[in-house]
């Protein structure tokens, strides 16, 4: 506090009016500058959307939205672009990831917030954070080193005749581990806001702790859990490299978890090299990026709005 006072006294106690005017002018200019920067960076959202759309126009002039989204024919050299396999690939991988990650993360959050002794809590939380810092490509390497052989040698043989291990299952497992920290942190946050008195009310009626969680806590936390899931889905949709390395990258629609898949981000990443040499290919890839962008944008906004409403309700 004292350092600060000396800082300002040196400038405020020179009472010349021109210094005053200069300071105010400087303040005004800087304010305008900051406004510009803020508006510019926020408008990125619009600019990206418009840019991607603009680049997709050549493609949209040739094929309708309907064909693009439902056709399974992908022959760039013939100018046929059906995105259906890639959309399905994305859905399969994301679906598997959520099915694995949501229950595990929910149970973990419940344990951390409701049951774990303080020592365990303190020991555990850094590792969940560290997990979120690991770069996606490392997850991909781990997927190749650990998950692929696991599936190929130990899991698949029970179900199918032969599998290379490269599958949507592998993509889903790797993605699930990547989104653990996200779901755990949001749900934990939401659980912590549930008032102890509400839980006490249930306990006072003779319910066990678990019954209280089942019937009261989870109900109260439901919007937050949904928001976390929606956010996690949008994160999973956009993950590129980790999934690319373990998915197989075959442009066919998966019919079982052991089939290969080719999610949208992988499509973009794998083919950007040929983008400029085949006509309309660059439009196609930009269209894929636009699809991703729109879906993720929507999911993000929905999730953030839910979370914001929750926050406001609790602040009352």
């Amino acid at each position: 506090m004292f350092k600060f006072l000396t800082l300002t006294t040196s400038s405020t106690f020179t009472t010349s009016t021109t210094t005053m005017q200069l300071r105010l002018l400087k303040d005004k200019i800087l304010a305008k500058l900051m406004l510009v920067l803020t508006l510019a960076s926020v408008s990125l959202l619009l600019v990206i959307g418009i840019g991607l759309y603009y680049k997709s126009i050549p493609l949209l002039q040739r094929l309708s939205w309907g064909t693009l989204l439902t056709s399974g024919v992908w022959k760039p050299l013939k100018g046929l672009f059906g995105f259906y396999p890639f959309i399905m690939g994305t859905l399969w991988v994301t679906g598997i990831a959520i099915i694995i990650a949501l229950p595990l993360s929910l149970l973990t959050s419940l344990y951390i917030v409701e049951y774990a002794p303080a020592r365990v809590k303190r020991a555990l939380s850094p590792f969940v954070n560290l997990l979120s810092g690991i770069p996606p490509v490392i997850f991909g390497v781990w997927g190749v080193l650990f998950i692929i052989p696991l599936i190929q040698k130990y899991i698949a043989p029970h179900f199918v005749e032969y599998s290379t291990g490269y599958s949507v299952l592998a993509g889903g497992i790797v993605l699930a581990v990547m989104i653990f920290p996200l779901i755990v942190s949001i749900i934990s946050e939401v659980l912590r806001t549930i008032p102890q008195e509400l839980k006490d009310a249930s306990l006072s009626l003779g319910a066990t702790k678990w019954e209280t969680i089942k019937k009261v806590v989870l109900r109260k936390a439901l919007p937050g859990i949904i928001a976390a899931t929606v956010l996690a889905i949008s994160r999973a949709f956009g993950e590129t490299i980790a999934v690319l390395m373990v998915c197989g990258n075959n442009a066919v629609v998966p019919h079982s978890v052991f089939d290969t898949g080719y999610p949208l981000p992988a499509l973009i990443a794998n083919n950007y090299g040929e983008m400029l040499s085949i006509p309309l290919y660059d439009s196609a890839l930009m269209f894929a990026a636009l699809l991703l962008f729109i879906i993720i944008l929507l999911f993000n906004i929905i999730s953030r709005v839910i979370l914001a409403r929750l926050e406001r309700k609790l602040a009352v």
Partner: protein
């Protein structure tokens, strides 16, 4: 006093995080009467109340020694079943906390947990308790709407009905009218007076007027110790201890 005590506290000491909150408390709560616990803020009255239904069990750093006998069974006995004990008591807290479900489900919550499944039985239970707390006519047409839509006074009565639905013997009230307007407060106070025919009631309150109106007995707690205990009129108008005299000094009937 020759009635059988419903709750008998013997040499109860409570420490929370190395601070002693309750010091060697020994008291008998009379059966089917209203007993109010009064005292200045922070003296430990809410803590004392919460030891009755073992709600303090999960507080961090808590240490409890001594006995609390309910119907002559020590509830702090290691072999005792907590949920069973809590079922004997209904707790009404300072602010109403309706469960995130419909009015019907709120009241039916307790019975369902303890095994009552028959719809007819639950229907009857819900109606009975809502009538007992005077809510029935106000909500009978909207039993399936969310409980949070009720006014605060109604919510508190709902919480009372909810607590009564599990068939307790004892009702505990922790400053349960402090969030309510005068009309709702009067309704709840009247309910306590009428309910004591069937239940033993222990209330924590800092409103001396309320204590006088509602209770048969008063316990005065100061700094974690019981200073005085006796019939209402005696403690409030003719206190024997200096500290009690100081505390009720401002109170003119």
């Amino acid at each position: 006093m020759t009635q059988t005590p419903h709750i008998s506290v013997q040499h109860l000491n409570v420490h929370i995080a190395n601070q002693q909150i309750l010091k060697d408390i020994s008291i008998n709560i009379p059966d089917k009467k209203v007993t109010s616990i009064i005292g200045p803020s922070g003296c430990g009255k809410t803590t004392l109340l919460k030891t009755f239904n073992r709600l303090l069990d999960n507080t961090a750093g808590i240490k409890i020694t001594g006995k609390v006998l309910v119907d002559n069974e020590d509830i702090y006995d290691p072999a005792a079943e907590v949920t069973h004990i809590r079922k004997k008591m209904g707790l009404l807290s300072q602010r109403p906390y309706p469960l995130p479900m419909s009015i019907y489900d709120n009241v039916a919550y307790g019975p369902r947990i303890h095994g009552t499944r028959e719809k007819a039985e639950l229907d009857q239970l819900v109606e009975e308790q809502l009538k007992a707390t005077g809510l029935w006519n106000e909500v009978k047409d909207r039993l399936n709407t969310s409980a949070s839509r009720l006014s605060i006074g109604q919510q508190q009565r709902l919480c009372l009905a909810r607590g009564l639905a599990v068939g307790p013997e004892i009702i505990l009230g922790d400053e349960s009218t402090s969030a309510l307007d005068p009309v709702s407060t009067a309704i709840i106070e009247d309910l306590f007076i009428s309910l004591k025919e069937k239940y033993t009631i222990v209330l924590v309150t800092h409103i001396l007027r309320q204590a006088r109106r509602v209770s048969d007995y008063i316990i005065f707690v100061y700094m974690g110790k019981i200073i005085e205990f006796g019939p209402t009129e005696e403690v409030l108008l003719n206190p024997k201890q200096e500290l009690t005299k100081e505390y009720v000094k401002g109170y003119i009937s």
